[in-house]
């Protein structure tokens, strides 16, 4: 197994599949009405180093570590930067001295997990870095697709929205290509990054829906309007939002995903979000299982 999960590029097909299989097994062992703990990581220390507020992701990692009996230290470093407060390197040396076996880092700067991995001996897990990646989100998305549709290879996955600023999209593009799915990115041309490798691009959502097995709607932030990425929320929603009429164009078996938090009425209508095709609630549950698998495998648990 690899030492760090800095981005989805750290995973080959074998390791990615092993994480998904392990997540399934861990879900079986610890799931059910009363959550059971496994002793696997007893005595190991997992630090959640969060430079950005993300209660959802932090809680998910915390639950995952605790279900494996690891000691969890939450290190909130929000607001820190080189100009004020401690540098990332100094923080890394502190964590090193505390004997962190794994550092889960969420950071506003792309590549911060790569920098951190130079300065600590433990494993580094990227919980979202800038506009770069969020690999455990991609793993839980892949897990969810596989649970619902039975496979990943050959699936047509359509990712819709602000791909340019989305770390979720970047991780999904890389991981899904590794696992043999075909990805199509859809959005206004202003929000599709230049020269993106291993994905198709379309500006016409209606055209790709009939052949999509999975549609993943990305959160679109309202402030993008101010930077002229698109003219108005209404126009965005009309051209790229998922509503009931668009959902009807999907094949019978197709699912609709969203990494959350949703802008209901912007990129996704309540009708879709609450429909049986929506996987939004199970994505959250699957997140814990996948993060357990990641910590378990990176830390060499047994």
């Amino acid at each position: 197994m690899i030492k760090h999960l800095r981005d989805a590029g750290d995973l080959d097909a074998g390791n990615a599949t092993l994480i998904l299989d392990t997540a399934r097994e861990l879900a079986r062992l610890t799931g059910g009405r009363e959550v059971k703990k496994l002793p696997t990581l007893r005595g190991r220390t997992v630090v959640n180093l969060f430079y950005e507020d993300s209660t959802r992701t932090r809680i998910s990692f915390e639950a995952a570590a605790k279900r494996l009996s690891a000691d969890v230290i939450n290190f909130s470093a929000k607001g820190s930067s080189v100009s004020k407060g401690e540098s990332l390197k100094d923080t890394a040396l502190t964590l090193q001295a505390m004997g962190a076996d794994a550092v889960v880092i969420r950071h506003g700067a792309s590549g911060a997990p790569h920098r951190l991995a130079n300065w600590v001996d433990g494993s580094v897990v990227n919980a979202g870095d800038g506009t770069h990646e969020h690999p455990t989100q991609a793993l839980l998305d892949a897990f969810t697709m596989r649970e619902r549709l039975g496979r990943l290879a050959g699936l047509n996955v359509t990712i819709v929205g602000d791909v340019l600023h989305s770390r979720v999209a970047r991780s999904n593009v890389v991981l899904l290509a590794t696992l043999g799915a075909k990805v199509t990115l859809v959005g206004p041309p202003t929000l599709i990054p230049v020269d993106i490798a291993s994905a198709e691009v379309s500006y016409d959502l209606d055209a790709v829906l009939p052949t999509s097995d999975v549609v993943m709607m990305l959160r679109v932030q309202h402030e993008r309007m101010n930077a002229s990425y698109f003219p108005s929320a209404r126009e965005y929603s009309r051209r790229y939002g998922m509503d009931g009429a668009r959902m009807a164009r999907l094949p019978e078996h197709a699912i609709v995903m969203h990494p959350g938090p949703m802008n209901r009425g912007m990129e996704i209508s309540p009708e879709v979000a609450d429909s049986p095709r929506s996987t939004i609630v199970e994505q959250v549950a699957n997140g814990v299982s996948v993060r357990m698998a990641v910590l378990y495998l990176l830390l060499g648990g047994k």
């Binding site: 080189v82 792309s110 800038g130 020269d195 993106i196």
Partner: protein, 427 residues
């Protein structure tokens, strides 16, 4: 002190002796020298001239001083450097440029020619006292807001026009700021993958295109700093064909390093303009050989450790380059004819032309009898492995660490006085 350099090849010609006395080069007529330097295997070049150096003094003496930067320059074969204006305080008054000029004289390792800011505080709002800087003891002729683009077209027009009164030149850092907000690296496949905001080539090309038209319109001289894209080469090519008085520089790093280097997220590779694509590198090399790009300039940009040992987005852009420039340029093979180094072309791109653009009349003269003894001796057969710690600079942000590069500076002379001997600074 009189020096005799024996059996040295001047610009690749048949070896001969050079006698140095009283600051000039003379024929050796049997006089007894104080020192003899065996020039066997060495090439003598006119002292290199750098049109784009950040010496950081005043303001960031922890990163570099006029003295340490001068020493690094001399070790790189330079006899003159043009010190950029983005110091703290900014070199936008006669007082600051004279201070830098005086510090250069005191260090005495290279001629330090201050560049004046175009606008007050580099703020891009109103002209600095360009005439006062021109008339000062520093006799400023090059003006630049480097680090910032003079983006306002009316202000750029006025600056170009105004400096005609004293044969000045505006050196533009070509970057349309609205197209590079938050930019971290070259916009392209690598930036997309790394999730770093892109710095598109067009942000440079659009400003150069505008500026050559402005320079043409008002009949002024324009110099383009650190040209970095294939598209910029074409804009300059067309302007030159029309007779526009435009010159352009390329940095050593843009001739060898590409945007893939950012994959490490190591900010030692963060620079502005950013490292570009292999196709850009190819075009820049060809343009330097052809003369569309007139000169090599280092954009030597020392930075303190804490400004580089951090997240990519928080790091300051820039890399050191004075001590490696000639070796890096030689490694590209751009300045060769039939597989041999064309030393005359090296002199043209790294000494004579930058001296002419900067108006440094003491520099850029071939080291032959009658010329000022301001030259450098290169051992082209030597190779060296770059170690960032082995430097005269205060900063270690060297992107060539571990690279094996050709050529070594053996000695440098400034007006008859050695600043470097046996590859070591004399003071």
């Amino acid at each position: 002190m009189a020096y005799l350099i024996t059996n040295v090849s001047v610009l690749g010609a048949e070896p001969r002796d050079l006698y140095i006395d009283g600051g000039v080069i003379a024929e050796h007529k049997g006089e007894e020298p104080d020192h003899i330097i065996d020039g066997t295997g060495l090439v003598a070049l006119p002292g290199l001239v750098d049109l784009h150096t950040h010496l950081r003094e005043p303001g960031r003496e922890d990163a570099e001083t006029v003295e340490t930067g001068s020493r690094a320059a001399a070790l790189g074969g330079y006899t003159a450097v043009c010190a950029m204006a983005n110091t703290s305080p900014v070199a936008d008054t006669a007082g600051v440029v004279e201070q830098v000029w005086r510090l250069g004289r005191e260090a005495g390792l290279v001629d330090v020619q201050p560049i004046g800011a175009v606008t007050v505080g580099l703020a891009g709002e109103r002209l600095a006292e360009l005439g006062a800087m021109a008339d000062s003891a520093a006799t400023v002729r090059i003006f630049s807001d480097d680090g910032h683009c003079v983006a306002d077209p009316r202000l750029m027009r006025r600056a170009l026009e105004y400096v005609k009164a004293f044969d000045g030149v505006i050196a533009q850092h070509a970057e349309e700021p609205r197209l590079t907000e938050g930019a971290q690296m070259h916009e392209g496949e690598v930036a997309t993958r790394l999730g770093l905001t892109g710095w598109p080539a067009v942000a440079e090309e659009a400003i150069i295109a505008r500026d050559v038209l402005l320079a043409e319109h008002v009949g002024s001289r324009l110099h383009v700093c650190h040209l970095s894209t294939a598209g910029s080469v074409e804009v300059v090519r067309q302007a030159k064909a029309r007779g526009v008085r435009v010159t352009a520089e390329v940095t050593p790093h843009h001739l060898v390093l590409t945007h893939e280097r950012a994959e490490s997220y190591d900010p030692v590779f963060k620079v502005n303009p950013p490292l570009r694509t292999p196709d850009d590198v190819k075009a820049l090399r060809a343009a330097l050989a052809e003369g569309i790009i007139d000169i090599v300039a280092t954009d030597h940009a020392p930075h303190a450790v804490e400004d580089k040992e951090c997240e990519w987005a928080y790091a300051r852009p820039g890399m050191v380059g004075l001590e490696t420039a000639l070796s890096v340029v030689l490694s590209t093979g751009s300045l060769e004819k039939d597989g041999e180094i064309d030393w005359d072309l090296v002199a043209e791109r790294m000494s004579r032309t930058p001296a002419r653009i900067a108006g440094l009349t003491d520099h850029g003269h071939d080291p032959l009898p009658g010329a000022p003894a301001t030259f450098t001796l290169v051992d082209p057969a030597a190779t060296r492995t770059v170690d960032p710690v082995e430097t005269a600079s205060r900063s270690k942000n060297n992107p060539y660490a571990g690279m094996s590069l050709p050529g070594r500076i053996v000695a440098t002379f400034l007006r008859g006085e050695p600043t470097v001997l046996d590859g070591k600074a004399t003071k």
